[in-house]
Protein backbone atom coordinates (compact mmCIF):
# COMPACT_ATOMS: atom_id res chain seq x y z
CA UNK A 1 0.00 0.00 0.00
CA UNK A 2 1.32 3.42 -0.91
CA UNK A 3 2.07 5.40 2.25
CA UNK A 4 1.49 8.87 0.82
CA UNK A 5 -1.87 10.39 1.62
CA UNK A 6 -3.60 10.95 -1.73
CA UNK A 7 -2.53 7.63 -3.21
CA UNK A 8 -3.39 5.88 0.01
CA UNK A 9 -6.88 7.31 -0.01
CA UNK A 10 -7.30 6.30 -3.69
CA UNK A 11 -6.38 2.74 -2.77
CA UNK A 12 -8.56 2.57 0.32
CA UNK A 13 -11.73 3.90 -1.33
CA UNK A 14 -12.23 0.96 -3.72
CA UNK A 15 -11.68 -1.43 -0.82
CA UNK A 16 -14.46 0.34 1.08
CA UNK A 17 -16.70 0.19 -1.99
CA UNK A 18 -15.99 -3.55 -2.26
CA UNK A 19 -16.89 -3.96 1.42
CA UNK A 20 -20.10 -2.04 0.87
CA UNK A 21 -21.08 -4.50 -1.87
CA UNK A 22 -20.39 -7.42 0.44
CA UNK A 23 -22.72 -5.89 3.04
CA UNK A 24 -25.39 -5.77 0.39
CA UNK A 25 -25.21 -9.39 -0.69
CA UNK A 26 -27.81 -11.72 0.63
CA UNK A 27 -26.74 -15.17 1.74
CA UNK A 28 -23.13 -16.09 2.26
CA UNK A 29 -22.33 -12.75 3.90
CA UNK A 30 -20.23 -14.50 6.52
CA UNK A 31 -17.95 -16.23 4.03
CA UNK A 32 -17.53 -13.14 1.89
CA UNK A 33 -16.84 -11.11 5.01
CA UNK A 34 -14.21 -13.51 6.29
CA UNK A 35 -12.50 -13.60 2.87
CA UNK A 36 -12.44 -9.81 2.77
CA UNK A 37 -10.98 -9.51 6.28
CA UNK A 38 -8.35 -12.09 5.39
CA UNK A 39 -7.49 -10.10 2.26
CA UNK A 40 -7.02 -6.94 4.37
CA UNK A 41 -4.89 -8.90 6.83
CA UNK A 42 -2.69 -10.34 4.07
CA UNK A 43 -2.23 -6.91 2.49
CA UNK A 44 -0.66 -5.77 5.76
CA UNK A 45 -3.37 -3.30 6.70
CA UNK A 46 -4.18 -4.90 10.05
CA UNK A 47 -0.76 -5.16 11.68
CA UNK A 48 -1.59 -2.48 14.24
CA UNK A 49 1.10 -0.11 12.92
CA UNK A 50 0.98 3.37 11.42
CA UNK A 51 -0.50 2.06 8.16
CA UNK A 52 -3.32 0.48 10.13
CA UNK A 53 -4.04 3.81 11.83
CA UNK A 54 -4.12 5.58 8.49
CA UNK A 55 -6.32 2.89 6.99
CA UNK A 56 -9.00 3.33 9.64
CA UNK A 57 -8.68 7.09 9.67
CA UNK A 58 -9.25 7.30 5.90
CA UNK A 59 -12.25 4.97 6.13
CA UNK A 60 -13.73 7.11 8.89
CA UNK A 61 -13.16 10.30 6.92
CA UNK A 62 -14.86 8.78 3.85
CA UNK A 63 -17.84 7.68 5.98
CA UNK A 64 -18.24 11.05 7.70
CA UNK A 65 -17.94 12.99 4.46
CA UNK A 66 -20.62 10.74 2.93
CA UNK A 67 -22.90 11.65 5.83
CA UNK A 68 -22.15 15.33 5.28
CA UNK A 69 -23.01 15.12 1.57
CA UNK A 70 -26.38 13.44 2.21
CA UNK A 71 -27.28 15.90 4.95
CA UNK A 72 -26.20 18.82 2.76
CA UNK A 73 -28.61 17.69 0.04
CA UNK A 74 -31.55 17.60 2.43
CA UNK A 75 -30.91 19.33 5.77
CA UNK A 76 -34.44 18.50 7.03
CA UNK A 77 -33.97 14.76 7.21
CA UNK A 78 -37.18 12.66 7.25
CA UNK A 79 -36.58 9.52 9.33
CA UNK A 80 -36.15 7.14 6.39
CA UNK A 81 -33.48 9.43 4.97
CA UNK A 82 -31.61 9.31 8.27
CA UNK A 83 -30.83 5.67 7.54
CA UNK A 84 -29.50 6.67 4.13
CA UNK A 85 -27.19 9.31 5.54
CA UNK A 86 -25.73 6.71 7.88
CA UNK A 87 -25.15 4.01 5.24
CA UNK A 88 -21.40 4.61 5.01
CA UNK A 89 -20.98 5.01 8.76
CA UNK A 90 -22.97 1.81 9.39
CA UNK A 91 -20.87 0.03 6.82
CA UNK A 92 -17.65 1.25 8.40
CA UNK A 93 -18.84 0.25 11.88
CA UNK A 94 -19.68 -3.20 10.58
CA UNK A 95 -16.29 -3.54 8.90
CA UNK A 96 -14.49 -2.74 12.17
CA UNK A 97 -16.68 -5.21 14.06
CA UNK A 98 -16.08 -7.89 11.40
CA UNK A 99 -12.32 -7.30 11.44
CA UNK A 100 -12.18 -7.67 15.22
CA UNK A 101 -14.28 -10.80 15.00
CA UNK A 102 -12.52 -12.54 12.11
CA UNK A 103 -9.04 -11.09 11.89
CA UNK A 104 -6.48 -13.85 12.58
CA UNK A 105 -4.32 -12.96 15.58
CA UNK A 106 -0.99 -14.35 16.73
CA UNK A 107 -1.09 -16.91 19.46
CA UNK A 108 -1.69 -15.24 22.83
CA UNK A 109 -2.80 -11.91 21.33
CA UNK A 110 -6.28 -10.74 22.29
CA UNK A 111 -8.80 -10.86 19.49
CA UNK A 112 -9.53 -7.25 20.28
CA UNK A 113 -5.94 -5.99 20.12
CA UNK A 114 -6.92 -3.55 17.36
CA UNK A 115 -9.90 -2.07 19.26
CA UNK A 116 -7.98 0.42 21.45
CA UNK A 117 -5.99 1.51 18.37
CA UNK A 118 -9.13 2.03 16.29
CA UNK A 119 -10.68 3.99 19.15
CA UNK A 120 -7.59 6.21 19.45
CA UNK A 121 -7.85 6.93 15.71
CA UNK A 122 -11.55 7.69 16.14
CA UNK A 123 -11.00 9.98 19.13
CA UNK A 124 -8.23 11.89 17.34
CA UNK A 125 -10.42 12.30 14.24
CA UNK A 126 -13.29 13.67 16.32
CA UNK A 127 -11.03 16.07 18.23
CA UNK A 128 -9.43 17.26 14.97
CA UNK A 129 -12.81 17.63 13.22
CA UNK A 130 -14.26 19.54 16.17
CA UNK A 131 -11.23 21.83 16.50
CA UNK A 132 -11.23 22.62 12.77
CA UNK A 133 -14.98 23.01 12.23
CA UNK A 134 -15.92 24.56 15.62
CA UNK A 135 -19.61 25.56 15.37
CA UNK A 136 -19.92 23.69 12.05
CA UNK A 137 -18.86 20.40 13.64
CA UNK A 138 -21.56 17.72 13.36
CA UNK A 139 -21.41 15.08 16.13
CA UNK A 140 -24.13 12.82 14.69
CA UNK A 141 -22.08 10.50 12.45
CA UNK A 142 -19.67 9.85 15.31
CA UNK A 143 -22.56 9.27 17.68
CA UNK A 144 -24.00 6.76 15.20
CA UNK A 145 -20.62 5.04 14.88
CA UNK A 146 -20.33 4.52 18.64
CA UNK A 147 -23.95 3.39 18.95
CA UNK A 148 -23.36 0.79 16.23
CA UNK A 149 -20.30 -0.48 18.04
CA UNK A 150 -21.99 -0.54 21.45
CA UNK A 151 -24.85 -2.58 19.98
CA UNK A 152 -22.55 -4.91 18.01
CA UNK A 153 -19.99 -5.47 20.75
CA UNK A 154 -22.79 -5.69 23.27
CA UNK A 155 -23.96 -8.81 21.50
CA UNK A 156 -20.61 -10.50 22.01
CA UNK A 157 -20.96 -13.82 23.73
CA UNK A 158 -21.55 -12.85 27.36
CA UNK A 159 -19.58 -15.92 28.46
CA UNK A 160 -16.37 -14.13 27.58
CA UNK A 161 -16.79 -11.75 30.48
CA UNK A 162 -13.19 -10.70 30.05
CA UNK A 163 -13.86 -9.65 26.47
CA UNK A 164 -16.89 -7.67 27.56
CA UNK A 165 -14.95 -5.75 30.17
CA UNK A 166 -12.09 -5.19 27.73
CA UNK A 167 -14.60 -3.64 25.31
CA UNK A 168 -16.33 -1.57 27.98
CA UNK A 169 -13.09 -0.15 29.36
CA UNK A 170 -11.84 0.66 25.85
CA UNK A 171 -15.02 2.63 25.20
CA UNK A 172 -14.87 4.24 28.66
CA UNK A 173 -11.34 5.45 27.93
CA UNK A 174 -12.44 6.79 24.56
CA UNK A 175 -15.37 8.65 26.12
CA UNK A 176 -13.05 10.05 28.79
CA UNK A 177 -10.79 11.41 26.01
CA UNK A 178 -13.89 12.92 24.38
CA UNK A 179 -15.18 14.48 27.62
CA UNK A 180 -17.07 17.79 27.24
CA UNK A 181 -14.17 19.85 28.63
CA UNK A 182 -12.07 18.56 25.72
CA UNK A 183 -14.70 18.40 22.96
CA UNK A 184 -17.57 20.67 24.09
CA UNK A 185 -19.30 20.35 20.70
CA UNK A 186 -19.71 16.62 21.36
CA UNK A 187 -21.34 17.09 24.80
CA UNK A 188 -24.93 16.09 24.04
CA UNK A 189 -23.90 13.05 22.01
CA UNK A 190 -21.34 12.23 24.70
CA UNK A 191 -23.80 12.14 27.59
CA UNK A 192 -26.21 10.10 25.50
CA UNK A 193 -23.47 7.54 24.78
CA UNK A 194 -22.16 7.41 28.35
CA UNK A 195 -25.67 6.87 29.76
CA UNK A 196 -26.76 4.54 26.94
CA UNK A 197 -28.54 1.37 28.06
CA UNK A 198 -25.97 -0.73 26.18
CA UNK A 199 -23.10 0.91 28.07
CA UNK A 200 -23.70 2.47 31.50
CA UNK A 201 -25.60 -0.48 33.06
CA UNK A 202 -22.96 -2.90 31.77
CA UNK A 203 -20.21 -0.83 33.34
CA UNK A 204 -21.99 -1.06 36.68
CA UNK A 205 -23.49 -4.53 36.65
CA UNK A 206 -21.25 -7.57 36.67
CA UNK A 207 -17.49 -7.62 36.14
CA UNK A 208 -17.31 -7.47 39.97
CA UNK A 209 -17.68 -3.68 39.85
CA UNK A 210 -14.45 -3.20 37.89
CA UNK A 211 -16.37 -0.73 35.74
CA UNK A 212 -17.36 1.52 38.64
CA UNK A 213 -14.19 3.67 38.64
CA UNK A 214 -14.61 4.15 34.88
CA UNK A 215 -18.15 5.49 35.17
CA UNK A 216 -17.16 7.51 38.22
CA UNK A 217 -14.47 9.23 36.14
CA UNK A 218 -16.95 9.92 33.32
CA UNK A 219 -19.47 11.47 35.69
CA UNK A 220 -16.75 13.62 37.24
CA UNK A 221 -15.84 14.71 33.69
CA UNK A 222 -19.45 15.81 33.20
CA UNK A 223 -19.72 17.63 36.53
CA UNK A 224 -16.41 19.42 35.96
CA UNK A 225 -17.69 20.70 32.63
CA UNK A 226 -20.99 21.86 34.06
CA UNK A 227 -19.65 23.31 37.27
CA UNK A 228 -18.83 26.83 35.99
CA UNK A 229 -22.27 27.02 34.36
CA UNK A 230 -24.10 25.79 37.44
CA UNK A 231 -22.47 28.03 40.02
CA UNK A 232 -25.25 30.56 39.77
CA UNK A 233 -28.70 29.26 40.51
CA UNK A 234 -30.32 30.85 37.44
CA UNK A 235 -29.40 28.95 34.28
CA UNK A 236 -29.91 29.74 30.61
CA UNK A 237 -32.21 27.50 28.56
CA UNK A 238 -29.30 25.55 27.14
CA UNK A 239 -27.63 24.78 30.47
CA UNK A 240 -31.01 23.96 31.94
CA UNK A 241 -31.48 21.38 29.19
CA UNK A 242 -28.08 19.84 29.95
CA UNK A 243 -28.83 20.03 33.68
CA UNK A 244 -32.15 18.18 33.30
CA UNK A 245 -30.45 15.56 31.16
CA UNK A 246 -27.92 15.06 33.94
CA UNK A 247 -30.70 14.77 36.51
CA UNK A 248 -32.30 12.00 34.43
CA UNK A 249 -29.04 10.07 34.35
CA UNK A 250 -28.61 10.50 38.11
CA UNK A 251 -32.17 9.33 38.72
CA UNK A 252 -31.55 6.17 36.73
CA UNK A 253 -28.45 5.58 38.85
CA UNK A 254 -30.33 6.39 42.06
CA UNK A 255 -33.07 3.93 41.13
CA UNK A 256 -31.02 1.11 39.65
CA UNK A 257 -27.51 1.47 41.11
CA UNK A 258 -27.82 3.44 44.38
CA UNK A 259 -24.73 1.78 45.88
CA UNK A 260 -22.64 3.36 43.11
CA UNK A 261 -23.80 6.85 44.13
CA UNK A 262 -23.36 5.97 47.84
CA UNK A 263 -19.78 4.85 47.43
CA UNK A 264 -18.62 7.80 45.34
CA UNK A 265 -20.65 10.55 47.04
CA UNK A 266 -17.52 12.26 48.34
CA UNK A 267 -15.89 12.98 44.97
CA UNK A 268 -19.19 13.89 43.35
CA UNK A 269 -19.80 16.50 46.08
CA UNK A 270 -16.37 17.92 45.29
CA UNK A 271 -17.43 18.89 41.78
CA UNK A 272 -21.09 19.75 42.25
CA UNK A 273 -21.28 23.44 43.13
CA UNK A 274 -22.92 24.27 46.48
CA UNK A 275 -25.77 25.99 44.61
CA UNK A 276 -26.88 22.69 43.03
CA UNK A 277 -28.67 21.55 46.14
CA UNK A 278 -31.22 19.24 44.56
CA UNK A 279 -28.67 17.53 42.30
CA UNK A 280 -26.44 16.95 45.31
CA UNK A 281 -29.41 15.71 47.34
CA UNK A 282 -30.06 13.02 44.73
CA UNK A 283 -26.59 11.64 45.35
CA UNK A 284 -26.77 12.03 49.14
CA UNK A 285 -30.21 10.40 49.28
CA UNK A 286 -28.92 7.16 47.80
CA UNK A 287 -28.86 4.22 50.17
CA UNK A 288 -28.08 0.52 49.73
CA UNK A 289 -31.00 -1.42 48.26
CA UNK A 290 -30.94 -3.99 51.05
CA UNK A 291 -31.45 -1.27 53.66
CA UNK A 292 -34.87 -0.24 55.05
CA UNK A 293 -34.87 3.34 56.33
CA UNK A 294 -37.03 4.04 59.40
CA UNK A 295 -39.38 6.96 58.88
CA UNK A 296 -37.45 9.95 60.29
CA UNK A 297 -40.64 11.41 61.79
CA UNK A 298 -41.33 8.27 63.84
CA UNK A 299 -41.98 9.59 67.40
CA UNK A 300 -39.15 8.79 69.82
CA UNK A 301 -37.05 7.23 67.06
CA UNK A 302 -33.85 6.11 68.80
CA UNK A 303 -31.39 6.50 65.95
CA UNK A 304 -28.46 5.62 68.21
CA UNK A 305 -29.93 2.14 68.59
CA UNK A 306 -30.22 1.53 64.85
CA UNK A 307 -27.90 -1.30 63.99
CA UNK A 308 -26.83 0.35 60.74
CA UNK A 309 -25.57 3.37 62.69
CA UNK A 310 -22.63 1.31 63.84
CA UNK A 311 -21.64 0.27 60.30
CA UNK A 312 -19.09 2.36 58.43
CA UNK A 313 -20.18 3.36 54.91
CA UNK A 314 -18.12 2.12 51.97
CA UNK A 315 -16.29 5.11 50.47
CA UNK A 316 -14.52 4.43 47.16
CA UNK A 317 -13.44 8.03 46.56
CA UNK A 318 -9.89 8.86 47.60
CA UNK A 319 -10.75 10.90 50.71
CA UNK A 320 -7.28 12.07 51.72
CA UNK A 321 -5.81 12.61 48.24
CA UNK A 322 -6.27 16.39 48.38
CA UNK A 323 -4.97 16.56 51.98
CA UNK A 324 -1.83 14.78 50.81
CA UNK A 325 -1.53 16.96 47.70
CA UNK A 326 -1.55 20.04 49.96
CA UNK A 327 0.94 18.42 52.41
CA UNK A 328 -1.62 18.69 55.21
CA UNK A 329 -2.24 15.05 56.03
CA UNK A 330 0.85 14.63 58.18
CA UNK A 331 0.00 17.74 60.20
CA UNK A 332 -3.57 16.56 60.71
CA UNK A 333 -2.39 13.13 61.83
CA UNK A 334 0.14 14.74 64.14
CA UNK A 335 -2.47 16.96 65.77
CA UNK A 336 -4.99 14.09 66.14
CA UNK A 337 -2.23 12.05 67.77
CA UNK A 338 -0.83 14.69 70.12
CA UNK A 339 -3.50 17.38 70.38
CA UNK A 340 -0.60 19.67 71.09
CA UNK A 341 -2.05 23.03 72.03
CA UNK A 342 1.19 24.85 71.34
CA UNK A 343 1.28 23.70 67.71
CA UNK A 344 0.34 26.41 65.18
CA UNK A 345 -1.72 23.79 63.33
CA UNK A 346 -5.13 25.07 64.42
CA UNK A 347 -4.38 28.76 63.99
CA UNK A 348 -3.04 28.21 60.47
CA UNK A 349 -5.98 26.14 59.28
CA UNK A 350 -8.01 28.97 57.81
CA UNK A 351 -5.06 30.29 55.84
CA UNK A 352 -4.36 26.90 54.35
CA UNK A 353 -7.91 26.66 53.09
CA UNK A 354 -7.60 29.86 51.09
CA UNK A 355 -6.90 29.57 47.35
CA UNK A 356 -4.11 31.62 45.79
CA UNK A 357 -5.64 34.83 44.35
CA UNK A 358 -4.89 33.61 40.81
CA UNK A 359 -7.31 30.72 41.25
CA UNK A 360 -10.15 32.55 42.98
CA UNK A 361 -11.93 33.69 39.81
CA UNK A 362 -11.68 30.35 38.14
CA UNK A 363 -12.84 28.43 41.20
CA UNK A 364 -15.65 30.89 41.90
CA UNK A 365 -14.73 31.00 45.60
CA UNK A 366 -11.76 32.06 47.75
CA UNK A 367 -11.66 28.65 49.38
CA UNK A 368 -10.33 25.29 48.24
CA UNK A 369 -13.61 23.40 48.61
CA UNK A 370 -12.21 19.91 47.91
CA UNK A 371 -9.57 20.55 50.60
CA UNK A 372 -12.21 21.52 53.17
CA UNK A 373 -14.28 18.47 52.19
CA UNK A 374 -11.25 16.24 52.45
CA UNK A 375 -10.20 17.50 55.89
CA UNK A 376 -13.71 17.24 57.36
CA UNK A 377 -14.37 13.70 56.20
CA UNK A 378 -10.83 12.48 56.92
CA UNK A 379 -10.97 13.80 60.51
CA UNK A 380 -14.44 12.32 60.93
CA UNK A 381 -13.30 8.91 59.75
CA UNK A 382 -10.36 8.94 62.20
CA UNK A 383 -12.62 10.02 65.07
CA UNK A 384 -15.25 7.36 64.31
CA UNK A 385 -12.66 4.62 64.14
CA UNK A 386 -11.37 5.63 67.58
CA UNK A 387 -14.88 5.90 69.01
CA UNK A 388 -15.64 2.41 67.76
CA UNK A 389 -12.36 1.10 69.18
CA UNK A 390 -13.20 2.69 72.53
CA UNK A 391 -16.75 1.28 72.53
CA UNK A 392 -15.33 -2.14 71.78
CA UNK A 393 -12.90 -1.85 74.68
CA UNK A 394 -15.72 -0.62 77.00
CA UNK A 395 -13.24 -0.71 79.88
CA UNK A 396 -12.38 2.98 79.39
CA UNK A 397 -14.80 5.35 81.16
CA UNK A 398 -16.41 7.86 78.78
CA UNK A 399 -14.42 10.75 80.28
CA UNK A 400 -11.20 9.33 78.92
CA UNK A 401 -12.17 10.11 75.36
CA UNK A 402 -9.06 9.34 73.35
CA UNK A 403 -7.18 12.46 72.56
CA UNK A 404 -8.06 12.30 68.90
CA UNK A 405 -11.79 12.50 69.49
CA UNK A 406 -11.30 15.75 71.35
CA UNK A 407 -8.70 16.85 68.82
CA UNK A 408 -11.24 16.31 66.05
CA UNK A 409 -13.71 18.55 67.85
CA UNK A 410 -10.95 21.14 68.39
CA UNK A 411 -10.50 21.29 64.62
CA UNK A 412 -14.19 21.72 63.95
CA UNK A 413 -14.65 24.31 66.69
CA UNK A 414 -11.63 26.26 65.45
CA UNK A 415 -13.05 26.35 61.94
CA UNK A 416 -16.41 27.50 63.25
CA UNK A 417 -14.70 30.31 65.10
CA UNK A 418 -12.01 31.41 62.63
CA UNK A 419 -13.65 31.12 59.22
CA UNK A 420 -15.62 33.99 57.74
CA UNK A 421 -19.22 33.55 56.66
CA UNK A 422 -18.34 32.07 53.26
CA UNK A 423 -15.70 29.77 54.69
CA UNK A 424 -17.99 28.62 57.50
CA UNK A 425 -20.79 27.94 54.99
CA UNK A 426 -18.47 25.71 52.94
CA UNK A 427 -17.25 23.99 56.09
CA UNK A 428 -20.81 23.33 57.30
CA UNK A 429 -21.66 22.05 53.81
CA UNK A 430 -18.80 19.57 54.07
CA UNK A 431 -20.36 18.26 57.28
CA UNK A 432 -23.92 18.25 55.93
CA UNK A 433 -22.70 16.25 52.90
CA UNK A 434 -22.13 13.34 55.30
CA UNK A 435 -25.75 13.29 56.54
CA UNK A 436 -26.92 10.37 54.42
CA UNK A 437 -28.36 6.90 55.09
CA UNK A 438 -27.85 5.32 58.56
CA UNK A 439 -24.11 4.70 59.02
CA UNK A 440 -21.32 5.72 61.40
CA UNK A 441 -20.46 8.89 59.45
CA UNK A 442 -24.07 10.06 59.37
CA UNK A 443 -24.34 9.48 63.09
CA UNK A 444 -21.05 11.15 63.96
CA UNK A 445 -21.55 14.25 61.83
CA UNK A 446 -25.16 14.64 62.93
CA UNK A 447 -23.94 14.76 66.52
CA UNK A 448 -21.06 17.08 65.60
CA UNK A 449 -23.36 19.51 63.79
CA UNK A 450 -25.79 19.67 66.71
CA UNK A 451 -22.87 20.01 69.12
CA UNK A 452 -21.51 22.95 67.11
CA UNK A 453 -24.98 24.52 67.25
CA UNK A 454 -24.98 24.36 71.05
CA UNK A 455 -21.34 25.33 71.32
CA UNK A 456 -21.64 28.35 68.98
CA UNK A 457 -20.83 31.60 70.72
CA UNK A 458 -22.66 33.76 68.20
CA UNK A 459 -26.18 33.38 66.98
CA UNK A 460 -24.98 34.01 63.38
CA UNK A 461 -23.20 30.65 63.52
CA UNK A 462 -26.37 28.94 64.74
CA UNK A 463 -28.31 30.66 61.98
CA UNK A 464 -25.81 29.43 59.43
CA UNK A 465 -26.05 25.85 60.67
CA UNK A 466 -29.82 26.16 60.39
CA UNK A 467 -29.56 27.62 56.92
CA UNK A 468 -27.31 24.85 55.65
CA UNK A 469 -29.88 22.30 56.83
CA UNK A 470 -32.93 24.28 55.75
CA UNK A 471 -31.80 25.06 52.19
CA UNK A 472 -31.38 21.33 51.64
CA UNK A 473 -34.88 20.66 52.94
CA UNK A 474 -36.88 23.30 51.11
CA UNK A 475 -35.82 22.10 47.66
CA UNK A 476 -37.93 19.50 45.90
CA UNK A 477 -37.32 15.91 46.96
CA UNK A 478 -35.39 13.72 47.48
CA UNK A 479 -34.03 14.64 50.94
CA UNK A 480 -31.25 12.57 52.54
CA UNK A 481 -32.39 10.60 55.58
CA UNK A 482 -29.55 11.86 57.79
CA UNK A 483 -30.45 15.46 57.00
CA UNK A 484 -34.05 14.94 58.10
CA UNK A 485 -33.24 13.25 61.40
CA UNK A 486 -30.72 16.01 62.23
CA UNK A 487 -33.15 18.83 61.54
CA UNK A 488 -35.96 17.06 63.43
CA UNK A 489 -33.65 16.60 66.42
CA UNK A 490 -32.70 20.28 66.28
CA UNK A 491 -36.27 21.56 66.27
CA UNK A 492 -37.70 18.97 68.64
CA UNK A 493 -35.10 18.61 71.33
CA UNK A 494 -35.69 21.41 73.89
CA UNK A 495 -31.99 21.21 74.71
CA UNK A 496 -31.25 23.25 71.59
CA UNK A 497 -33.81 25.87 72.55
CA UNK A 498 -34.33 26.29 68.80
CA UNK A 499 -37.64 28.12 68.71
CA UNK A 500 -36.39 30.83 71.07
CA UNK A 501 -33.65 31.84 68.65
CA UNK A 502 -34.49 35.22 67.23
CA UNK A 503 -33.66 34.21 63.63
CA UNK A 504 -36.59 31.76 63.60
CA UNK A 505 -38.88 34.77 63.73
CA UNK A 506 -36.81 37.32 61.81
CA UNK A 507 -39.55 37.74 59.18
CA UNK A 508 -43.12 36.46 58.75
CA UNK A 509 -42.24 34.33 55.71
CA UNK A 510 -39.27 32.85 57.54
CA UNK A 511 -41.52 31.95 60.44
CA UNK A 512 -43.98 30.32 58.01
CA UNK A 513 -41.11 28.54 56.32
CA UNK A 514 -39.89 26.99 59.57
CA UNK A 515 -43.39 25.92 60.47
CA UNK A 516 -44.04 24.35 57.05
CA UNK A 517 -40.71 22.55 56.99
CA UNK A 518 -41.19 21.29 60.56
CA UNK A 519 -44.69 20.13 59.60
CA UNK A 520 -43.36 18.30 56.54
CA UNK A 521 -40.81 16.68 58.82
CA UNK A 522 -43.67 15.47 60.95
Amino acid sequence: MEPDASNFQKQVSPLFAEWYQICEVSSGFDNACMRFVLQLHQSGLLRGDDITDRFFRVLLEISVSHFGEVVQQSPKQPPHLIQTSFLAIDSYAKLVYSILKHCPVDQGTSKLFLLPKILVVTVRSIQKDADEKKEEFNPRPYYRLFINWLLDFGSLDPVHDGINFQVLSAFANAFHALQPLKVPAFSFAWLELVSHRTFMPKLLAGNSQKGWPLLHRLLVDLFQFMEPFLRNAEMGELIRFLYKGTLRVLLVLLHDFPEFLCDYHFSFCDVIPPSCIQMRNIILSAFPRNMRLPDPSTPNLKIDLLEEMSQAPRILSDVDAVLKAKQMKADVDEYLRTRQQSSPFLSELKQRFLLPPSEVTHAGTCYNVPLINSLVLYVGIQAVQLLQARNRSQSQPVSSDPLAIKAALDIFQTLMRDLDTEGRYLFLNAIANQLRYPNTQTHYFSVVLLYLFTDAHQEIAQEQITRVLLERLIVNRPHPWGLLITFIELIKNPGYNFWNRSFTRCAPEIEKLFESVSRSCG
Binding site: S195, R197, L247, R248, V249, L251, H255, Q278, N281, N476
Partner: protein, 44 residues
Protein backbone atom coordinates in the same frame (compact mmCIF):
# COMPACT_ATOMS: atom_id res chain seq x y z
CA UNK B 1 -35.85 25.09 44.76
CA UNK B 2 -35.07 22.43 42.20
CA UNK B 3 -37.75 20.75 40.14
CA UNK B 4 -40.35 18.07 40.68
CA UNK B 5 -38.25 15.11 39.58
CA UNK B 6 -41.31 13.01 38.84
CA UNK B 7 -41.92 15.27 35.82
CA UNK B 8 -38.79 14.13 34.00
CA UNK B 9 -40.51 11.16 32.39
CA UNK B 10 -38.96 8.45 34.59
CA UNK B 11 -41.18 6.14 36.62
CA UNK B 12 -39.25 6.45 39.87
CA UNK B 13 -41.61 4.05 41.67
CA UNK B 14 -41.09 1.33 39.11
CA UNK B 15 -40.09 -2.02 40.53
CA UNK B 16 -38.30 -2.66 37.22
CA UNK B 17 -34.87 -1.25 36.42
CA UNK B 18 -35.16 2.08 34.62
CA UNK B 19 -32.00 1.67 32.53
CA UNK B 20 -33.57 -0.98 30.27
CA UNK B 21 -35.93 1.56 28.76
CA UNK B 22 -33.87 4.69 29.33
CA UNK B 23 -33.97 6.28 25.88
CA UNK B 24 -31.83 9.34 26.36
CA UNK B 25 -30.99 12.11 28.84
CA UNK B 26 -32.88 14.48 26.52
CA UNK B 27 -36.10 12.54 26.16
CA UNK B 28 -39.07 12.11 28.47
CA UNK B 29 -40.23 9.08 26.52
CA UNK B 30 -39.00 5.64 27.46
CA UNK B 31 -37.08 3.78 24.78
CA UNK B 32 -39.28 1.63 22.60
CA UNK B 33 -37.04 -1.11 23.83
CA UNK B 34 -35.28 -2.88 21.01
CA UNK B 35 -36.02 -6.53 21.61
CA UNK B 36 -32.97 -7.88 23.40
CA UNK B 37 -32.04 -11.10 21.66
CA UNK B 38 -28.96 -12.94 20.55
CA UNK B 39 -28.85 -15.54 17.79
CA UNK B 40 -26.42 -18.43 18.28
CA UNK B 41 -23.86 -18.71 15.48
CA UNK B 42 -25.22 -22.10 14.35
CA UNK B 43 -28.61 -20.57 13.52
CA UNK B 44 -27.05 -18.70 10.55
Amino acid sequence: LGIDLTTLGLNLNSSENLHKTFASPWSEEPAKGEPEFTIPECYH
